[in-house]
Each structure stands twice: as C-alpha cells, then as structure tokens.
Amino acid sequence: MTRTREWIYAWLLLLPAMSLLALFTHYPAIANLWHSFHSTARANHPSVFVGLDNYRSMVEDPIFWQALKNNLWYAVGTIPLSIALALLMAIWVNNRIPGRGILRLAYFTPTILPMIAVANIWLFFYTPQYGLLEQFLGSLGFASHNWLGTRSTALPALMVVAIWKEAGFFMIFYLAALQSISPQLAEAAAIEGASRAYFFRRVTFPLLMPTTLFVLINAVINAFRMVDHVVVMTRGGPDNATELLLYYIYEVGFRFWDSSYAAALTMVLLAILAVVALLQFAFLERRTHYQ
C-alpha cells in the first residue's frame, strides 16, 4: 500500500468511532461552554447572550457552594477509606486465609450490583425504627436516630454506601498487582528476618504504587460521577446536606429546567475532572503506561 492510501485507510477505520466521539464528547463539551454564556430559552424569551451572568449567579448561589463543599467532604471521606479497605481485602484474599474464595465473593459482590438497587436496600437498612441498623442499635440501648433525615449524619450515611460499593472493586486491582509480585521477594525477606509490617512498608507498598495511583484516579472520578444513591436515598436533602455537584446539575437541568445555569455548573465539574486528568498525566504518564 502506498503511504497516502494507508493514511486514508487508517482514517476510514477511525471514522465511525471518531464521529460518535465528536458528537457526544467533544461537541457537547464545547457547546456546554457556549450555552453557559447564554440565558435559558423560555416561552416568549428566546435564549440571548448574557456573558458571565450564569457564573455570577453561581458564585452567589449558596446551594452551589454547599454542593461543592459536600462533594469535597464526600471525596475526602470515601476515597482514603475505600482504598485502604481495598488494600486490606486484597492482602487478606491473596493470603492463604480459610475460605478466601467465599470472602473474595463477599467483598466483590456489591460492585456488580446496580447502585440504584443497593441504595434501595440501604435505604431500608437506615429506616428509622424499622431498619436493621435501628434494631441493632436499639437492642444495645441507643436512642432512635433518623440517619438520612438528620443534617449531620445524612452525608456520612451516603459515604458508607459508597465505600461499601467501591472497596471490592478497587480490591480487584490490588489483587491483580499483588499476584504479579514475585514470591521470591517475600522468601528473601523471611530469610533476612524482616517483619511482615516492614516487608509491606518497604517492598509491597512501593511496588503497589502505580496501582494505588490508578485506583486513586478512579476513586476521585467516581466521587464526582456517582450520584445514583442520592437520587434514591435523600434527593439532596435534608436541607441540601447531601447535595452533590452532579446531582445539583441534574436538579437544575431536569427538574427546574434551567439548562444554561446547569451548563455553567457542568463547567465546574469539567474543570475538576480536567485537573484530575492533568494530575494523572503528571504522575502516571512518566511511567509510559500508554506504550
């Protein structure tokens, strides 16, 4: 094949995927920016250019700040814990622990179930008076508490669900990484008399670093992307205590039908994701993972 023909051939192979990507990833990202500078079209009021008005109202919108703050706390609360649990699970399941097949299944099962379905189960779990949690705490003599209906406990209650759902997923990546570590390293360390903690700190953990970074990136993305449980369990309440950024975008865009303001909010979310992407390039790309 001549060079030009090869070029054309390659671009023809790319064409179907690229056109869909352009239509549903690149175009919407740009159109979103464009629409964020315009007003929402209403009856008798066509959309007009309003400059930074949407962003100005965003800065003055306490719910936006609340959602951003909640989302940051949500990320801080779920990411380190789910990663630590994932690592612990992976180490346990990788060891010759009795019944590790069943344990692996138990840890991993929440991952393959729809968030929407497990959120229903957890909703019942948290139900005041009737829920399992209430019954358990009640039998220990604790007073009844409305976990999802109280400002201070609603977001932590959602975090627990997220950690429960995600830890098993991240465990898989650690498990794969652990299995690729040569057993000779552990044998050598045993001969040298190194403690397990020392071995973990100086050998295993550093070797798992690329996996940790990979999992971390995924965890951050998920913290800003996964809001299904908010829809089922709290709808952003009580008093916006569980309002997360994407859920707020959904509310503004599809319950208040203010698509321009939703576009401005989406720009914030895209900016956060862009920062994550840049960090990923800064840390991960050095390891030439893509080659």
Partner: protein, 282 residues
Amino acid sequence: MTARTAARVGPGARGVGLRSLETAAAWLLGILWVLPLLYAFWTAFHPSEYSTNFTLAAPWTLANFVKAWHAAPFARYFVNTVTLVTMVLAAQLVLVTLAAYAFARFDFPGRNLAFALVLMQLMVMPDVLIVENYRTMTALGIKDTILSIGLPYMASAFGIFLLRQTFKTVPRELDEAARVEGCSPLQTLWKVYVPLARPTYLAYALVSVSYHWNNFLWPLIITNSVESRPVTVGLQVFSSTDQGIDWSIISAATLLSTGPLLVAFLLFQRQFVQSFMRAGIR
C-alpha cells in the same frame, strides 16, 4: 494494624495467633459486606410482618415477587435492558475494534492528536455531559428511545485503549505473513488480530454489560416511558411512587431487577473477577 506489626513472615506461636485474629477480622468484614444483601433476601422471601422480625419460624414465601412482578411492567423493563446492553455492546465491539486497529498498526498524520482526543472521553464522560447530550437527543428527535440511552457510550475510549494495547502485542510477523498471503488489512484484522484478542474481548464485554445494566442517571433523564425504560429506572419509578412503602415488595423488586446479573456473576465468578482484573491492568 498494630497487631500486624509484631507478626513475622515466618511461622511462630505468636504469628499463628495473630493469623487467626486476622482471619477473624477478614471474616467479620466479609459478613458485614454481605449483610445488606442477606437482609434484602430475608425481607423479600418472608411476609412483610417478618421483615424486621428474625425468627426461624418465619414462613417462606414468593408472594412478594409475584406482587412486585404484577405491580410494574418488569418484563418489559428487562426486554429494554437486554436490548440496550446488546445494542451497546455490539456497536462498541465493532467501533472499538476498527479504531484500535488503526491506532495499533497504522502510521498516519494526526495519530497522536486523534488518540489524545479519544482519551479525553476517559475524563469527560457521557455521565457528566447530561445537559448537552439531552439537547442533542432532542435535536435528533430520538429522545425517549433505547437508542438514545446507548448512543453516547458506543464509541468507548476505554475499549479503544484496552484493545489497542492488546493489538500491539500481536507479533508483526503474523501480520506480515497474512499480508503476503494476500489478505487485505480488514481480513488481517479479522483473521489474525480478533482471534488473538479473545480474552480482552471477553473482559471488555463483561465490564461493558455490567456497566450498562447498572447505569441509571442518563437513562433516567432521557427516557420517559415504559417502552424505553431500562430496569434500573423502572425499579426507581416503582419504588418511589406511592406503593404505601411495603419494604417486602420493594426488596423483592430490587432482587428481581438484579437477579439475572447476580446469577450470571455467581455462575461465572472467576471470569468476572479475572475480566475486571484484566481490564484494570494497564
């Protein structure tokens, strides 16, 4: 973790004690992890007066499932979900294969730029671009169809990336041998690359199916009728409308909607886990 500090790699009396402590902790966590699911099972299979009353004498029943099945068009929702998942996967496999082949084995101007544009989707996911994609679907006139749920996900950056990595490991000699035999590039792709990448395809397919079976927010937004709703949205519509909150029926509906996936997972557990592992290793 302090308990582990003293544990030695080699066995010893103290080491064994700590080992069993660790086993106990692992099992405790495991039980905690399945507890919500067991709870749902209990509630779904018993009459509602036993949903918070755990006695061995509680009678077992399937009535909750029957009630749930008749209370909402779950059969239709299942058909929709299966259609959606099949359609998305079929389109993904074709698009991803072609694009990955171009990136893996062709040298053309703009390749790096094109690849960077593809990778952008890993960050700017369709899950986030709901407002604009809704606008696009309205403009295309396909709102509230199964096609509109799947369309934004059909060109998958993750799939292109994953398959490109696999295609790159195919020895060039095989490729050249096929060309010498007179195969066109597409024939080479079909006869050499696709068969060699079978494990990657399986891994990708399982990840894709479970993702789209479980997807919720975008389908919730873009669908508005029984004819197009997948089972996740159907379940939400069912449990949020005033059912007089009967948890037994909601639990039954929840298990019902996750049932096929859960059974498939339990049957092919090893493949599932290995697929997720394979998909995660870069």
